[in-house]
Amino acid sequence: MHRLHAEKMITVITSDVLENRLIQAVKKRGATGYTIFRAHGAGTSGEQSGMLDVDTNIVFQVVVPLSKVGALLDALEELGRKGHHLRVMVADVGVLWPEKFE
């Protein structure tokens, strides 16, 4: 797949109320965009049924070049240190039109 360019996809699963914080965080670190969808689930902090705003999870995804991953993870670790519940996963993806993600 010579036309695919290697990038990293960072996925954050957390509460809906953190949406704006995450948007600010990735904008500040130079991501070209982000994608969000709502989810329900359960984890160490109990069930998130998705029925009330406070009870809804978001899956927040951002694709960035490797060079920007470190700063983003720093920001996410900082949120975690303050007590917010976040799950953070990083995966390898190959993207078409890498210039869109720079």
């Binding site: 809906d16 049924s49 029925m51």
Partner: protein, 337 residues
């Protein structure tokens, strides 16, 4: 209490609760409950604002002032009790007690349905109090949290500046931020906005909107309480995480609030039985719409599971099923004194 249990709103709450208990696969689409709660806030606001347009300004301002006092005072009482109980740390105490200074529109509306079914009249002022009481408790909660955070940090010898309020918020502008967040809270904006619209809109144009906010209101409330019954049952299932002392708090706090509310409603504000009961419910109920997201965002150190279980799983069902008729009996007694 029997007559309470013959009101559709309460019965639907019970039905939702039961559905979860028997593990039914009954389920609402995720956005329905959110949409119903937007409708309810809009309708209460419009209705309240419309009534207020016709109200006595002095009594209204007096009610607002006492609503503020209740909103600021209840969390302080709750915080003190919780800290003294030593069962939760200061951050959790701050977050939990904030919920009790605010109000539950669902409980308030169930009380209105209860009064309607008994054909008891009620003043319109408690609706303004409802709108006013959403925010102060958030402010107090955040201040208590900030204060506890600083104390904890001092104990541990580190600076708490900005610990929980993120990159963008230094210590200086923090109070402004807290106030801003509390007053731009979605439910507050919708409720107060609708109230203003109800008060200023031309009366002949309000006629057209009335069927929407009046005729289908009770039915929407029933649907909403059906869903909340399911949520309450889901939450009550987590009571083991909470522990006996906190459960006692979840029942004692509304009882205390109800008592204070009755005194304020009847003796201070001079309301009749209906209005007094509504003030009692305002003081007794705990928020599960506006306050939890605010706490989750700004007091991340607190355990969301604790305050949600208390507010939604303990205090809410207690108020809907037992509290309202109890506060009613209390009101009758105080009014009869």
């Amino acid at each position: 209490m029997l007559s309470n249990l013959l009101i559709p709103a309460v019965l639907f709450f019970a039905l939702g609760f039961l559905a979860r208990v028997i593990k039914s696969d009954l389920r609402f689409p995720a956005d329905l409950a959110k949409a119903l709660s937007i409708y309810l806030l809009m309708a209460i606001g419009l209705h309240g604002g419309y009534e207020l347009g016709k109200a006595d300004l002095l009594t209204a301002m007096n009610s607002v002032m006492w609503a503020l006092l209740l909103g600021f005072g209840m969390p302080l009482i709750g915080y003190t009790i919780l800290v003294l109980s030593k069962k939760v740390d200061a951050m959790n105490a701050a977050a939990i007690s904030a919920h009790y200074g605010s109000v539950s529109a669902g409980t308030f509306l169930t009380a209105v349905a209860y009064l309607d079914s008994l054909q008891i009249e009620y003043d319109s002022y408690p609706v303004i109090m409802l709108a006013v009481m959403e925010s102060p408790a958030i402010v107090v909660g955040l201040l208590l949290a900030a204060w506890s955070r600083r104390r904890l940090a001092a104990q541990q010898g580190v600076s708490a500046a900005g610990t929980a309020n993120g990159d963008d918020r230094g210590g200086s502008g923090q109070l402004t931020h807290i106030l801003r967040d509390a007053f731009t809270n979605g439910s507050v904006v919708l409720l107060i906005g609708a109230m203003v619209i109800g008060a200023v809109a031309a009366p002949q144009s309000m006629v057209k909107i009335k069927p929407f906010i009046e005729e289908i209101f009770m039915g929407v409330l029933c649907l909403f309480l059906l869903e909340m019954g399911m949520e309450a049952a889901r939450r009550i299932g987590e009571f083991r995480r909470v522990g006996a002392v906190l459960i006692v708090f979840g029942v004692a706090m509304p009882l205390l609030g109800g008592l204070i509310g009755v005194l304020v409603g009847h003796w201070v504000l001079g309301f009749g039985v209906g209005g007094t009961l509504l003030v009692a419910v305002l003081a007794a109920s705990a928020s599960y719409i506006a306050v939890p997201p605010a706490m989750r965002l700004a007091v991340p150190e607190a355990n969301a599971s604790l305050y949600l279980t208390l507010s939604l799983g303990i205090t809410f069902p207690f108020n809907v099923v037992f509290g309202i008729p109890l506060y009613h009996a209390l009101t009758n007694w105080v009014v009869g004194l």
